[in-house]
């Protein structure tokens, strides 16, 4: 989630009220942003991804000002017609949508320009999903001749000077040379043509989704009027992005002008952007009151919604144009709850009766633990993920465990057995006192085509006993004692298993059902783990054990 830094003095000016520090902290938290810290004049806040409109100082101040009751209700923004046009060429199939606007009479300081850059970046990271869904550009209007064209061209045929570069380069080189080209190259894999904004005089404004041109796309302190463009793969997404940007510029004192978006392929009929007509949603007062446990009257409902920047009239909410997260009554309900104040909900527990019921397997595992600690075994808990070497080479086995696709760490396989985990424990504890008699109840994984996920899961009990004088008899005694404790009869039948010494390993049977394995760990295995004290062990399927014990 993006963190933004706000200037306290500036924010107070925008809100129109000065709050004591503690109250300011509290209000920021209770509005629905995560306050990280306030240091001097700097406020660090984490903005949740459903509220990209609060990524800018203006947007944040707008929301806070309503919330504390200074300036409530729907904000109105005037949009004048510019009479200009942006032509969207049929060729931009790779990023087919754009929504654009003009904002005039800005007084841009160095600070404001930085903010403008910051909001574009943060918005493209969150709302634009790292530019994959959409990306944005702001250009000085004075250098542009309308109509502007949005079209795809072969980058090898175009030379321009990207932002931050001393000279013009081929557009094809941007991917390799420009920092933003390198960063977002993966978004354009397989493209032979790239989308460009080009003005009527043939000047390149920008190469998408990478960079503006230095000559026509660099905003500075002399800039008063700007052209704003939001382009991407999702029409709703670019329209909302444009609304967020122009309302922010409007709050900075700019005048907003619309542009006609002419889609040459007529897939979208003539569209004028920005569209700052508030959306409408009927308010289901009963639903909201019931879910929140409140009894708000119509007037109170109006007050709550207005505190969150909505307009309200006769059961109808007017949704601000910069909000993309209002899908359902439930979303209005949340905003009403925030306006009411989460701290004002009085907690209660209803007097309804339900009977608690524990999971049978979990209950059985608790019983097992009780029994095993009585045999003086120490319980361990290991990760379900291990590395392939631990599961195979170190156990004299091959191809065991299920590999993960994308593990960032060295733990990259789901384990198939508890014994590797337990041997790892012995290996890690060599410097401690013996005997080391350990057990674990935990899950293992294996391929199973019957399952929805093609992965089967089983809970197992693993035991290892490790000291100078241990032998098969000792682990067999533990098994027998455990079976007596569970009231079942079992037996051991000789088997072969490379993890154990030949002739000292058996499978554990209850009736004719095989539930596990028991034996003396092979010295070759101990050697691989660097264990220099003899060890014996067993592993059983406790799910089956439970079934057979009942």
């Amino acid at each position: 989630m993006p963190t933004i830094t706000l200037n306290k003095t500036e924010l107070e000016k925008l809100i129109g009220k000065k709050l004591p520090l503690e109250q300011l902290k509290d209000r920021i938290s209770m509005l629905g942003t995560d306050l990280e810290k306030i240091e001097g004049d700097e406020i660090h806040v984490e903005v949740f991804p459903n509220r990209p409109d609060m990524l800018s100082e203006q947007g944040f101040a707008r929301a806070l000002s309503s919330f504390i009751g200074v300036k409530t209700g729907l904000r109105k923004y005037n949009v004048k017609k510019s009479g200009h046009k942006v032509i969207i060429d049929k060729s931009v199939t790779m990023r087919p949508y754009t929504a654009c606007a003009i904002v005039k009479n800005l007084r841009l300081t160095d600070e404001k320009i930085k903010e403008l850059m910051q909001i574009q970046e943060k918005l493209a990271t969150t709302h634009g999903r790292n530019r994959k869904k959409s990306a944005y550009g702001v250009y000085p209007l004075e250098r542009i001749t309308f109509p502007v064209r949005y079209e795809a061209r072969d980058p090898k045929t175009i030379r321009f000077r990207p932002l931050g570069f001393e000279r013009a380069i081929s557009a094809a080189e941007v991917v390799e040379l420009h920092p933003k080209g390198k960063e977002y190259a993966h978004l354009t894999a397989g493209w032979t043509k790239y989308p460009f904004f080009v003005d009527a005089a043939g000047k390149i404004l920008s190469l998408l989704p990478f960079t503006n041109s230095h000559d026509t796309g660099k905003v500075d302190e002399m800039t008063k009027d700007v052209f704003v463009e939001c382009s991407g793969i999702d029409l709703e997404n670019v329209k909302v992005a444009l609304n967020i940007l122009v309302t922010m510029l409007g709050d900075m004192g700019g005048e907003i002008y619309s542009l006609e978006m002419a889609y040459e392929d007529k897939s979208i009929k003539s569209m004028v952007t920005p569209d700052l007509m508030a959306g409408k949603m009927k308010v289901d007062r009963e639903y909201i009151n019931q879910r929140l446990g409140l009894e708000l009257s119509d007037a109170e409902m109006k007050k709550m919604l207005e505190r969150m920047g909505y307009g309200y009239e006769k059961g109808m909410a007017f949704v601000p144009v910069y909000r993309a997260d209002i899908l359902h009554q439930a979303d209005l309900m949340e905003d009403v709850a925030i306006a009411y104040g989460y701290e004002n909900f009085k907690e209660s527990i209803p007097t309804m009766v339900t009977i608690g019921q524990e999971d049978q397997a979990e209950k059985f595992y608790e019983k097992l633990r009780d029994g095993l600690v009585g045999f003086r075994l120490l319980e361990v808990k290991n990760y379900h993920l291990m590395n392939g070497v631990e599961l195979n080479e170190k156990m004299m086995e091959k191809g065991k465990g299920i590999a993960l696709l994308n593990s960032l760490g060295e733990h990259n396989h789901l384990r198939h057995s508890l014994l590797p985990s337990l041997l790892k424990n012995l290996s890690d504890n060599k410097h401690h006192e013996f005997p080391q008699d350990l057990f674990e109840i935990g899950r293992v994984f294996f391929a199973d085509a019957e399952e929805e996920t093609n992965v089967g899961e089983e809970d197992r009990l693993g035991i290892v006993v490790c000291h100078e004088k241990t032998d098969f008899t000792e682990i067999r005694q533990i098994l027998d004692a455990l079976l007596v404790y569970l009231g079942v009869e079992g037996k051991v039948k000789e088997t072969k298993d490379p993890r154990f010494i030949a002739g000292r390993v058996g499978e554990i049977l209850i009736g004719s059902k095989k539930i596990g394995v028991i034996g003396e760990i092979h010295p070759a295995v101990l050697e691989k783990w660097g264990i220099t004290v003899p060890a014996v062990g067993m592993e059983v399927d406790v799910g089956k054990m439970l079934e057979l014990a009942q």
Binding site: L292, H328, I349, Y383, L408, D428, N429, H432, L438, T453
Partner: protein, 505 residues
Amino acid sequence: MDLNSLIAKLHPLERAVLPVLQKERELSAIARASKLDETEAMRALQWLENKKILTLKSKPTRVLVLGVNGKKYQQEGLPEKKILNVLTKEFQGMSVIARKANVSDEEVNACIGVLKRKSAIDLLKGKELMAKLGPQGDTYKQAFPEERFLKRSFPLPFDSLTEEDRLALDDLQKRKELVKVEEQKRITVELTELGRKLAATKIDGDVVNRLTTEMLVTGNWKKKKFRAYDVEINVPRIFGGRKHFENEAISYIRRIWLDMGFTEMTGKYVQSAFWDMDALFVPQDHPAREMQDTFYLSRKAKLPKLWEKIQKVHENGADTGSKGWQTPFSKEETQKILLRTHTTVLSAQTLSKLKKEDLPAKFFAIGKVFRNEALDWKHLFAFYQVEGIVVDPHANLKHLKGYLREFYQKMGYEKVRMRPAHFPYTEPSLEVDVFHPVKKEWVELGGAGIFRPEVVKPLLGFDCPVLAWGQGMGRIIGEYWKMTDVRDLYKNDVKQSREMKAWLR
């Protein structure tokens, strides 16, 4: 302490050394006189020192000690002396000499040089080397200084050597494993006032150390005197079996929810993106679904029929009254297999099986969830979540706050606060903080909310308020045991596990 009770507590080893302390002052002498080996004698002396009966003094000294061959020759005599003994005035072949003297060929070769230098033998070179007694032969036959030297009692203090000893030593030191000079601590004893009194007292050695079955059967014990122990000293530690400390905490948390009438949910760790994400209305391009956040497996899930319904909910809201995400839904994405990222997946599966007549119903789960992280002191790739849902047509936000406050009070936190937050599957969404009674600040513990209709309606078949939470547990548990490194939870260090304080809440 009075003398009698002091005597009653004396260990048999102490009883053995005490009588000789009148005469002997040096450790090896004390050991010899009391017929103990030196380590036993030393232990007894240390115990006596602790009881202020004597003081031990240790002074570094240079001593001569015998090597392996030195010890052998001390017993058997030097091989050159043995050879000398079998020589006569007539020349004899070397092999004959070796056999008669019972020494090895190697030893013969070493001795020839020594004896020749002393003019004790004459040699004659021929096909085989021959030897007979030399001019000094008879003198050395009588008395061999090196051998006399070896017969002394070792370790021998270096300071006590005479001029003659040093000459013999020079010769012996040249040979393998005979004698060597070592730095040793010479330990001597000085009796205290109390010690002198005790040493002068007659100590009855006949006390019983252990009560035996034989004594009980014969009734012999009636005539015996039992040695008193020092019951105040430390004894070697033992360790019983134990549950893993984290499981003690989990049992407690399970108990809380069961007591509040919740039914336990369990389920698989490996899940499809369908259940873990899509059924919970997480948009398909949500950042949490990316490879660097979630563990994926290279398999494809079989989907339940429900998926088509969920697809429509994502695309346009279907019959939920929602607009949906207004973006195309990918079947490939929903078929991905992953390690569950939250226990909320269990809640989704539970809802899908619930019927109207089962309501109201409450469920909880305590389970592991996975995030693609490399391990370090503050990150684990798997951790526990405490999940809960309340499916009740009359449930509201106040109840959610009520249940969570009840839980946290039982966990030892009096004050609970809720702040607005954002999760794709709840509306309203809240972050739960508890007030830390020691640090005096709010600590964030997890998320909660009321499930969105886009989640509830397709799974349950009808809309109904479902209160839901997924709380982290690591922080509370780590805090109880004052852990500063989260990896300590699963270090499985046997010392740590054996000595961990029990969960006493």
